[in-house]
Symmetry: C2
Subunit: 126 residues, 2 copies
Amino acid sequence: MTVSNEVSVLDRLLTDGVLSAACPSRVVLDHVTSKWGVLVLASLSERTMRWGELRRTVEGISEKMLAQTLRTLEADGLVHRDVTASIPPRVDYSLTPLGTDLAAHLLPLLGWVADHADEIVARPAR
Amino acid sequence: MTVSNEVSVLDRLLTDGVLSAACPSRVVLDHVTSKWGVLVLASLSERTMRWGELRRTVEGISEKMLAQTLRTLEADGLVHRDVTASIPPRVDYSLTPLGTDLAAHLLPLLGWVADHADEIVARPAR
DNA sequence: CGGGATCCATACTGATACTG
DNA sequence: CAGTATCAGTATGGATCCCG
């Protein structure tokens, strides 16, 4: 009940501004928690992957969204893009140290969702 | 990084189907990582909040999206809705045990994003 | 093989009005 | 106070074709 002497998580979020509309972390959060961003980061968390490999691993992603997601994550410094100018062209994607760090926080969440998905979906209707 | 039990993370995700298009966990993941879902869950992670309180805490959310997000999270069994039929009416929202469990995994991620937001946004142009 | 360009569907937002 | 309903405009996601 008492909040004054408590340095809470919510206070920290408010201080750091995640809940503030104009804060840059909002943008990052949107990238990270985007529909495909999570899955791409998770896929790359274990090993480097080529474009086609990613496309097959992250089932259901369209080529446009894969490209868009990778470009965003690359611009954010989370994903490294390694282009080999050959024929056929070869592009490898991997996580940067920053991306690896993020993935460490992301994977437990994915694991939880995987564990509790049935529990959630199988609930009685609204 | 070289710990042996980490090798199975991606395998587990593939096994449980998070990366599979038809898996129910995809739906849950979408709800949980939705633009506003994360922020609402984070806000409720510390304390119960009323509608107007949530609306003010999660800056920038529209009434429509707040209602929609809350309905989705409630249907998923993550948020509990407590209606007090009085005048004026009072509705409190809180996390269910399941939601609290989820928030435990979500908050570290939010904290990480808050910590590294500047680092990411303020990257030097290539 | 890797991806850009285009077009269409859906999701989101904002404003307003109305209800219990 | 706590919503629901509706309209209209914008943003985002997805499918398809196409090119180096």
